[in-house]
Assembly symmetry: C2
Homo-oligomer: 365 residues x 2
Amino acid sequence: MTSRSDPENQRSRRAEIIGTGLIGGSIGLALRSLGWHVTGSDSDIGRCEQALSLGALDAVGEDLDAEVVFVATPLESVPSVARTVLDDVRRGDPVVTDVAGVKLPVAEALRHERFVGGHPMAGSEQVGVKGADAELFLGATWVLTPAQNTDPACFAHLRSIIASMGAEVVALSPAEHDALVAVVSHVPHLTAATLMNIADRASEEHSVLLRLAAGGFRDMTRVAAGQPTIWPDVCAENSDAIVETLDLLVSELSKIRDKVARRDRAGLLEALDSAATARRALPARAVRPEHLAEIRVPVPDRPGVLSEITALASGLAVNIADLEIAHSTEGDRGVLVLVVDADSAGRLEEALEARGYHATTGRLS
Amino acid sequence: MTSRSDPENQRSRRAEIIGTGLIGGSIGLALRSLGWHVTGSDSDIGRCEQALSLGALDAVGEDLDAEVVFVATPLESVPSVARTVLDDVRRGDPVVTDVAGVKLPVAEALRHERFVGGHPMAGSEQVGVKGADAELFLGATWVLTPAQNTDPACFAHLRSIIASMGAEVVALSPAEHDALVAVVSHVPHLTAATLMNIADRASEEHSVLLRLAAGGFRDMTRVAAGQPTIWPDVCAENSDAIVETLDLLVSELSKIRDKVARRDRAGLLEALDSAATARRALPARAVRPEHLAEIRVPVPDRPGVLSEITALASGLAVNIADLEIAHSTEGDRGVLVLVVDADSAGRLEEALEARGYHATTGRLS
């Protein structure tokens, strides 16, 4: 079913979305806000109707005139769903992409000139289309994984559509993508869960243990609170890269263990020093560093401090691009880290100093 | 040198602090705000004068009338400094404590009825007395580690002094303390540093890697940015407990690795499920849970959102006890987690809903 009878949409660019959950729904909202006509479907018809009523879709069904088809279904069904679309005779001759978190198995199953794998590095704690948001991809990194068979024109076409939603496109080979997300996402997640389980078991014996768990521990284990349901599939599909990275982690932790056992102070200091240098160079947010600055403000635990500082920023027309509280390893006090436009950092820092805060500003690099 | 000639201080309770850095200076400020007379010294005379000028001390030197002596020097000098004080003939017959992060070596070196080891679980990103704060210990956990020789009256005396600074005292044996901080502090710190080093090395080959490092990775590695200088000593002094915990971590990570390699979906789901349950039960802040509630608000990346929400709370006279942005594993979007008085959570949630936010409230338990 399409809406070709609606004359107002005759000139609209047309997209189809299969799978109208959080990501599919957000793509629908983003494209519709740009004037696209969006048709969608879902194996769960109720979810699809919800997407329609939330304004993420113009119509339910398939659109043979769509110029792009987003397959936003769970990982394991991507190959068969995308294959059906690619094999269809469609007037739109669409470029087909997916949004799964592992790319190599999909790429190997779908060697087609009009298929380009994709992975928007954007998520939300919300589950399902209710959490969909037209701005989900603004400033987010969206990896595209063209394969050898991919038609460069299809890649360029898809790239421009994704960039129009505000995402920053990074092109990687499917294998490279999978190796890198194992390092920065999959293995850290498994490690956080493992640390949490160890502490939880120890706390059965020592009930006081979790009272000693200060900000640093909470920061490290926070991701382990997320929905676990997607992880078994991710681990199964990316098992080679995850196993390789876990082997490396186990080997590096064993080296640290040996340094501790040998009381090798110099070796430990070297490892911790290089980590501190690398971590300080990691911006609080993945954005163009030339435009932003990071202001660090030690804050006491006192009601109204956050309100005072954010209101101060608003009053000075300083946009806070991101904010976090960096806890120290021990204790609950924090340093408020504000990411703001580099041009306006100076005036916010001055205003903070005038109020008695000790702010320090660094450019993100 | 004492200030006994000052008649106004005749009735003040008297404390001595040896080592006037961040912790020593904060103890001085806290006690002076409670009306104590505080004398202090430091191997670095400049630091001591700075503490005096910042109001952390009344006088420089030693105070033979002090009823309590805080040894707030680096770990390795605690035994000799505390031994000297304990061996002194002092009119005040003081209880002596320290603030080092590892307790067993100190306890073994100082078997004395008037010595009680201590560890305030409070820190700051600031280094030195400049960062000292009278409120550093408000609501913080302060571990005291009485040993077999400790006089119970000395323990009770010290406990009441520390509670008067607003800290919550937890009593543990020195060995128990060291085992628990290995689990919730030392090994998580070493793991964060190791993950950061692995990612940093991988990014030399794949320069794009750190662009894929989203909020979850940043949360996990944040503590690795801290000052590394104290860690070699901590690792050397607590090597047994750290080695034991690292062995456990390596063994648990190897089990996870095998589950991934075997594509054992059920086993992985079980591990991740139990971690998620445990992490969700960990409050955002170690405070009396019956009084606080946690409000979670998904927030778009839009200037003014934080200011709007914190101002809304201020306007409703709702105190924000803590705030964090929980990033998802992928992407930069966040969920704002506000910790507020349980009694006022309802009216803030209503006001948030009225502005179009989807807030959910949970009691901390």
